[in-house]
Amino acid sequence: MTVALAVPAPPRPRVMVDRSGDGSVHEALLRERALVRAAQQGDTVAFSALVRLHQRRAYAVARAIVGTHEDAEDAAQDGFLHAYRALHRFLPDQAFGAWLHRIVANAALDLTRRRKVRAADELPETVAAPFRDPGEASHLRERLQGALAQLTERQRSVIVLHDVEGFKHAEIGTMLGIPEGTARSDLHHARAHLRRVLGGLRSEL
């Protein structure tokens, strides 16, 4: 499917962020819980509403881990499917988003492992091309891709989940199955590396 490009945007707000302070978060949470309960009882329309609520974020989590749009799409779908199967195990007092993100992250990690096994010895590790941003100079994109390719997969995931998606270290640790301290250290090294490699960026912008 051909998709349009997204213009670089500020960090996307989380689904439940209360910017109005009028208790809409509480309402949203109650609505979400009602949807979860209905979905647990087999209501696919309710599950569909949950997919609609969380798919952007789920995609972003997957994309941070797998790197490519196509794989992120597959991992997000797999994640939702796993979540649907495991819905009866979800406890209503948990945060549905956090639970789902963990499942999606697992699906993405699983996909990455499978891809690695399949592609072993065939291709060098590369960061696949992202959506084309017409406003971005191609050499900058190439430099960024080159710099990202030099990071480990985990460092790449951590910096994207933290700096792009706004997750906290602890949340990233839970999603990737690593200690919070490791996420913190990965972030530090990833930032330092990108800063070193893309050092002259400001003069080019």
Binding site: A4, V7, R56, Y59, A60, H69, Y84, D133, L201, L205
Partner: protein, 128 residues
């Protein structure tokens, strides 16, 4: 005091994020902006969910089928075993019946009209 105190400060520490790099990363990892894409993705997820639901239904049925076959096989084995046992028992009873017959066979010798002189017939009277 100015309002600057309330503004979020830019993290310029060596380990903090670099604004320009973060901007590039956001552009690189930007999700599709087209609403149609998300509708399509939702529909695709739900199609897979429903397919899985119907698969599970068939799985249940085939599970029942498998259980039925297994139960039938067990029943056949049990029935066969019972039949064999019954036949064996019947044979055993018959054998026992034969063995429990009186050991002594009474013989009666009854003289019949001799067809020829000096000839005699022997008749066994068995009790069954």
């Amino acid at each position: 005091m100015t309002n600057d105190m309330n503004r979020p400060r830019r993290d310029t520490s060596p380990s903090g994020p670099d604004d320009e790099i973060t901007r590039l990363l956001r552009a690189h990892y930007a999700p599709p902006a087209d609403a149609g894409y998300w509708e399509w993705l939702e529909a695709k997820v739900m199609r897979r969910v429903r397919e899985q639901g119907s698969t599970e239904w068939w799985d249940v049925l085939s599970g029942w089928g498998r259980a039925g076959l297994a139960a039938a096989a067990v029943a056949a084995v049990v029935a066969g075993a019972l039949t064999l046992r019954a036949q064996d028992e019947e044979r055993h009873v018959a054998y026992e019946a034969v063995l429990s017959q009186p050991e002594v066979v009474t013989l009666q010798v009854r003289p019949e009209e001799p067809a020829t002189e000096g000839a005699e017939s022997v008749r066994f009277d068995l009790p069954y």
